[in-house]
Symmetry: C2
Subunit: 191 residues, 2 copies
DNA sequence: ACCTGAACACCGTTCAAGT
DNA sequence: ACCTGAACACCGTTCAAGT
């Protein structure tokens, strides 16, 4: 069966490259990681990386896909926990890859495929947050703004390290704000 | 008077380099701007830039200092306006340099002087925000968390473009949250 | 189809040499 | 003190050539 043997090998090698790149990008950063190094850790030459990926940014997209899938699995497992704990866990998890998040922002302007990935990522994160807000009782009219605030705060926590108590205070204040909005909806009508 | 003629020329040339770099960094981005290009626009060779600055990151710090001073002057002029308008103005202003903000985050790990600048910038922004929160009546115990949230939201708005109505909704919701926290302080005592 | 050696293009930075 | 020409080091990417 030579017809389906090749594709399997291909996925395998590709996976090794992605695994090596993931380790290097997370530990040393995107800029500090040369394509040659990625290849070496995967047992090939730098040129070979270009047989599997269009360019270095495509490698990054593959790495992000892998990391994000892992992350979503963790989110699903914790869906029963209270919102504050879920958010704190997510922040702690994503913070391990904070360098990559900054890299994504720095490169969306230069790479079209990275821009697509970034937009998709935001859409998914926003969907999850909106779900939580609805569950907390935030009326639909306020969900857009609250969702954006939530995304911004999460992203800010990732890129600016804070201690455990500080993080908890931020998340608790945020959730309390959402509850406050839920209790007193509207901005100009009532009162 | 040859004793104070030289220093003046020096500041002049240095200023031209910073002016050229500012234009290029803002319009084309830090990565896309070569040191050679900065020099050319200032009428010198790339090597000459290195006589005035230790490296490309130092040029960036000088550019940031210039832009930030300009920004602070604008803030001072608008101190009488209501908080929402002040914040919206600040966001609009900073958004014009959103690329640089991303660049700063991408390079703090690599450049010590950039890290120092970034920390100082945050300290000043936080001081301004804390002042507003105190004015809104947010109790001291909650100011830390609310300040961090404010910084994160502002930064998020800069790096993620939104339309005018969306921006206004976010800022209004944020200020309303602060007022809500001010009205019902504490998280576990009163109920 | 998969992989490599060699080379190209580009860029930040340095150095010896000029005035 | 100020500036330059030439060169170095490094890196992403490509290409012709192998199996």
């Amino acid at each position: 069966m030579p017809r389906n043997r090749r594709p399997q090998d291909r996925e395998e090698k590709r996976g090794e490259i992605v695994a090596a790149a993931t380790r290097l990008f997370v530990d040393e950063g995107y800029d500090s990681t040369t394509v040659a190094r990625i290849g070496r850790e995967a047992g090939v030459t730098s040129n070979t990386v270009y047989w599997y990926f269009k360019d270095k940014d495509e490698v990054l997209v593959a790495v992000l896909d892998a990391l994000f899938a892992q992350f979503l699995a963790g989110v699903a497992q914790r869906s029963a926990e209270p919102p504050v704990e879920q958010l704190l866990w997510a922040v702690g998890e994503l913070r391990r890859v904070d360098r990559l998040i900054t890299t994504v922002h720095a490169r969306v302007a230069a790479s079209e495929s990275l821009r697509v990935w970034h937009d998709g990522f935001h859409a998914q994160v926003e969907a999850v947050l909106r779900w939580h807000l609805a569950a907390l009782g935030v009326p639909e009219a306020e969900q857009d703004a609250m969702t954006r605030i939530g995304v911004f705060v999460v992203e800010g926590m990732l890129t600016h390290t804070g201690d455990a108590e500080g993080d908890r205070a931020v998340v608790e204040t945020l959730v309390r704000s959402a509850r406050g909005i839920a209790a007193v909806p509207g901005s100009a009508d009532s009162r």
